[in-house]
Amino acid sequence: MNVQASKFATLCDLSMTEAADEVAKGNVTSVELTEAALAAFELREDKINSVIWLEREAALEKAAELDALQKSGAELGPLHGVPLAHKDMYYQAGKLTTCGSKIRKDFRPDYSATVMDRLHGAGSLTLGGLNMAEFAQNPTGHNVHYGDCHNPWGYEYCTGGSSSGSGAAVGAHCVTAALGSDTGGSIRLPAAICGVTGIKPTQTRVSRYGVMPLSFSCDNVGPLARTARDCARIMTVIAGKDPMDPTSSAEPVPDYEAALTGDIRGLKIGVPENYFLEDASPEIADAFAAALEVLKARGAEIVSVTLPEMAAITTYGGIVSRCEGSTIHAQWMRERPEDYAVHLSGRMYAGYAIPAVQYLEALARRGGILKTFAAEVFGKCDVLASPTLRWRTPTLAAASMETGGDDAIETFMNVSINTRPMNYLGLPAVSVNSGFDDNGMPIGFQIAGRPFAEAKVLKVADAFQLDTDWHMQKSPVAQMI
């Protein structure tokens, strides 16, 4: 390996917090990081198809501006100089935002998302928009309009969705972190399947102003990154009340990174006796048991918990986002249904026949069910652990509703079975890598907590990563130099 290749690999392999800290110390420039990220996309993109658009020149100009600021001695934000790219559904005034769709292939909003303003205010720069499931509506990463996203651990495998490009680009070490969104698992699934870390915050924790809507009751904004520490730093930047989003919470935002002490002694880790491990693949169950041992060795206590109301949670959770998505897309579904992929229109269609009485029942009972769940589960443990996916990662072909036949529909629908409950309940949940299956695909470990317990679930995730190196393993694509 020559010196230049060695430096390229070193820069690409930095975590986001490492990259930001190196820029702050003057050891690395934002231009160097940006050049490395752009070169990584150029070299690796054929293997993952994670990008919808990139702005190379604008990014390098911005990086030079940020470097000048760093040299001036100005106070720097916590993400200063770090190049990021995000799921292509975060509005930036005047910039392309395709939402992974044909319908919005030329859409350029005239205002910007609050989360983008906050990320830029913290010193990060945006390279472009990443591939995603069309209108964020599939859990696998299929996209007929921009091409399927491919897994950096295996070309024929799903990336998970809907934040497919975010998972693939971080898993391929093209960027250190990326925003995703999560309505039924769309951050945690690609994080798990691409071997990275991702957090779905508490419902209302992060502003959704300027973010493409799918389900106003279940949409969440959050990061995918290499480490829990990266996610913590981003969460500290993006969380908090936003006057432009009246649904956003005024709950104070702690310094999530400061909570990562590694000390989980005495913390009670809940292990579900029902639902999450039912019929799980043996290797998934084994990896889950091994992950629990890691936490136990660090001083946590493992306790069994019986989860209440799971039948109601799955029934109700299955229709809320479907009804809301169907409502948002009704006009286009009438006028131009052929412009949607089968993955979207096929799944959304039944939403037009769900009675309002049932939809409102699902929403009306949500608070009561959350209270019951919190009392019976978090009355006995601090966090609830589970596998992020219950079964092995499917191939793109096996889960394709376009070409995979009737079996593919079931495979497709089952991918998010372990993530959807957290959306109905509104709970924060993080997914970290906890090993690999027989096909060499990452296995996700999900840690959920009470509402607004982001600091705690990230603390457990960070503690897990202090004692394991699963998150440090490099995918075959990330090794390309």
Partner: protein
């Protein structure tokens, strides 16, 4: 898949929203609404008279993590 339910879904979607089945998976998944209906049937009688959607935000506060 229930063909009866699938037809009911198609009729309802057409009458109320003028949305037609866009493809075969849509028809198949419409038939699978039978399972969803069964799920709702199992939940009958559990909703309290006073419950409403805004109770969820209150529940987030009532059950939230309390800083140590």
């Amino acid at each position: 898949m229930s063909e009866t339910i699938s037809k009911l879904v198609q009729q309802t979607a057409a009458d109320w929203s003028s949305v037609m089945p866009p493809n075969r998976p849509a028809v198949l998944l419409a038939g699978q609404m039978e399972g969803t209906i069964a799920g709702f049937t199992a939940e009958r009688g559990k909703m309290k008279f006073e419950e409403e959607p805004s109770s969820f935000e209150a529940a987030l506060q009532a059950t939230k993590e309390v800083a140590a």
